[in-house]
Symmetry: C2
Subunit: 355 residues, 2 copies
C-alpha cells in the first residue's frame, strides 16, 4: 500500500530529480526530500529573476547533486537523468507580464526546453513517475468560481499557453506509455525562499517584502479581489503525496487551499503582524491585461483523493515567512543575490556528491 | 453592411496575404481570391511532404506575389507583410504521426515560426483581419458527438497541442487589441490540389489516389468509424465569408459539413465512381495512437451565423476530385513533384508582380 505509507518510507533511498530545484517551491521540496533520505539531484538553469538562489539549499549542498543547466541542454545533463525513480519537473519561466514582453523567450524556455528534456527522460528513465507543476494561469479569466479542473483553458498571456502545452506534453507521453505523470496546477503559493527583489511573481511575498522594508503595502484596485493562498510547506507535502500515489497517475489536479481570501484581507493580516500599513493603488497598465479579478481554484478533488488538508493557516504562514526573511532577508532582497548562475557555476556540474 | 456583400465586393482591391498558399487549401483559397480581384501575396516554406506544389497556382502565378520562405523568417518576409487588409494564416505542419516522430520539429515549425510571424504582423499590419485555420485534432478523442467548440481540448499528439497553442497566440493578441482574429477548426477537407504522394494527410484524397492507381482502397479497421467530409471549394467559401464578417471576430468556430459519413461508405462512393474495389485492413501500429474512433464536429454555430451551407455533396465532390487528378495526377502522384522549393526559388522572392 505504497499510497498510504508515510513520506519518509515512500522516498527513502529513491533516486529523485528536481528541476528548478534552486527556486522557491523547488528548494523547499528538495529540503523535504533530503530529510526523507532520498538521493536528490537538482537541475536549475539559474535564469535571472526567476528565483533560483544558491542560499535556498544552504546546509544541504553536500547532500545533493547540483547541476546548473537549462533542462533543454540534454547533452549536458543526460548523465544526471538516468534511472530516476521520481522527477519533480518544476523548471519553468513563470512571469506573466514577462511573457507578453518577450513571448519567444517564454516559448523557448518553457516549451522547447521541456520538449527536449521530456524526450530524453523517456529514454533515460523510462517509466519514471513525473510530477509537473502547472499553474492557475492555464485557466485564464474565470467562467465560474471556484474553478475546477474541467474549467475551460483560456489563458490571458503566453505563459499560460506554454504552461498548458508543457502539461499536454506530459499527458501525451503518458498516453504513449513513456512516462507516468501527474500535473498539479498551483495557485498563490507563498513562504520562505521566494525571490524578494522584484514584484513579478507572488504578490503575497512581495507584500511581505514591502512590510519588512517599512513601506506601505500597495494593493492593486480596491483589494476586494479574492485569491486562495497556500503555504509552501503544505504545497510541498501535497506534491510529495501526489507523486507517490498511484491514484494520481495520468491526471491533472488543482492544488489549492480552498479558502478564498481577499487581497486586502491578506495585506491587512501582514500589517497586523508586521506593524505597517497598506493602501489601495490603481492597477499599473501592464498588469491590467493579466488581471483576472476574483480567482480561486476548487482543490477538493485532490484533497479528497489524498485525504490531505493544508495545516498552516494564512496568519501562521505569514508569521513564519516574516520570521524567515527577518533573519535571511539580505540573501533575497537584492537583485545580485538572486542571480547565482556564476557563483554556482564555480562549483562545476554536479559538484556535490550523490548519496 | 460589409458582412452581407458578395465575396467579390468584400475582397476586390484588398491586400491579402495567404501563408501556406502553395498548399492544398491555401492554393484553392488563393485562386478564389484572385478571381475576386484581391491583391494577393503568397508565403510558403515549401517544406517537404507538407503539400506545397507550384502547380497549384498554375495559370495565376503572374497575378500573385510569391515568397518562398518560412513564416518565421520575419526579416526576409517583412516587406511582404506591410499593410495587409486580410491575412489567411494557413501555414502549418499538419502531420499527426510525424509530430510523434519529431515533436521538436513540429514545435519549431508551428509555434516558434508562428509566434515570430504574428509578432511581426502586429507591427507591420496592425489591426489586420487574420483568419487562422485550426484543426479537429485540437479536441482529441471525443467526450461526446458531434463535438462543438466547447468540447475539452485533449489532443492525442503533439501537433494538436501546437495547433491549439498557435490558435491561442491569435486569441491573446486579439485580446490585446493587436490583431482581429477568427479561427476555423477544420476537419477532413478533400478535393483538388491536395498532395497525393503519401498517406500522412487527408485519407479521403489518399483513397482517391489508390482508386486512380487501380489499387484496392485499404480502409483501416472495419470502416464503421464516422467522419465529416467537406469539399475544398465549400471550405474556401466559408473561410472567405468568415474572415470578412465582423460577427466572427475574436472567436473560434468549427468548420464542418455536419453530415457524418462512415469511412467505408466514403470508400464505396469512390469505388462506385472509379470502378475499383475496397477492403478492410488492420490499423498500422503507429496510426493506433492517433486514431480517435468516430469523430465529427458540430459546425452549426458557424453555419447559422454565416447563413452558409456546403453546396457540394460527397459524391459530387469525389467526382470532381477524380476528374481533376485524372487530368493532372502526374503533377501530384510523385514525391519530387511535391517538393517544389528549388524550382520555386529560381523565381526569386516575390518574382511575380503585385497587382
Amino acid at each position: 500500500m505504497q499510497g498510504f505509507a508515510p513520506l519518509s518510507e515512500r522516498y527513502s533511498g529513491k533516486r529523485v530529480l528536481v528541476t528548478g530545484g534552486l527556486g522557491f517551491i523547488g528548494s523547499n521540496l528538495v529540503r523535504r526530500l533530503v530529510r526523507t533520505g532520498a538521493s536528490v539531484t537538482v537541475i536549475d538553469a539559474c535564469f535571472p529573476d526567476q528565483g533560483a538562489n544558491l542560499f535556498n539549499l544552504k546546509g544541504i549542498l553536500d547532500e545533493v547533486a547540483l547541476v546548473i543547466a537549462d533542462v533543454g541542454r540534454v547533452d549536458d545533463i543526460s548523465a544526471y537523468m538516468v534511472d530516476q525513480d521520481y522527477v519533480f519537473n518544476l523548471a519553468a519561466c513563470i512571469s506573466h507580464v514577462g511573457s507578453l514582453r518577450d513571448p519567444l523567450r517564454d516559448l523557448e524556455r518553457n516549451c522547447v526546453s521541456q520538449l527536449r528534456f521530456l524526450g530524453a527522460l523517456t529514454e533515460l528513465s523510462p517509466g519514471a513517475r513525473v510530477l509537473y507543476t502547472g499553474s492557475r494561469s492555464q485557466y485564464g479569466s474565470p467562467s465560474y468560481l471556484p474553478m475546477d479542473e474541467e474549467h475551460p483553458m483560456k489563458p490571458v498571456d503566453f505563459n499560460g499557453v506554454h504552461k498548458t502545452a508543457v502539461e499536454e506534453y506530459h499527458r501525451i507521453l503518458h498516453g504513449l506509455g513513456k512516462l507516468r505523470y501527474t500535473s498539479l496546477r498551483l495557485t498563490n503559493i507563498y513562504g520562505p525562499r521566494h525571490q524578494m527583489h522584484h514584484d513579478g511573481q507572488g504578490f503575497l511575498n512581495w507584500f511581505i517584502r514591502q512590510a519588512l522594508a517599512g513601506q506601505e503595502i500597495c494593493v492593486y484596485g480596491d483589494g476586494a479581489q479574492k485569491r486562495d493562498f497556500l503555504y509552501v510547506d503544505d504545497a510541498v507535502e501535497a506534491i510529495l503525496l501526489a507523486a507517490s500515489d498511484p491514484r494520481c497517475e495520468g491526471e491533472a489536479f488543482n492544488l489549492a487551499s480552498g479558502v478564498p481570501t481577499s487581497v486586502k484581507e491578506a495585506a491587512e493580516t501582514i500589517c497586523g503582524l508586521a506593524g505597517n500599513s497598506c493602501r489601495c493603488v490603481p492597477y499599473p497598465p501592464e498588469a491590467v491585461a493579466v488581471e483576472p479579478g476574483d480567482m480561486h481554484l476548487d482543490g477538493s478533488r485532490l484533497q479528497k483523493l489524498l485525504d490531505w488538508r493544508p495545516r498552516v493557516g494564512l496568519e501562521e504562514g505569514i508569521a513564519r515567512t516574516l520570521a524567515f526573511y527577518r533573519r535571511y532577508g539580505s540573501r533575497y532582497f537584492h537583485e545580485g543575490r538572486g542571480r547565482v548562475a556564476l557563483e554556482a557555476s564555480t562549483l562545476g556540474l554536479g559538484a556535490s556528491s550523490e548519496k
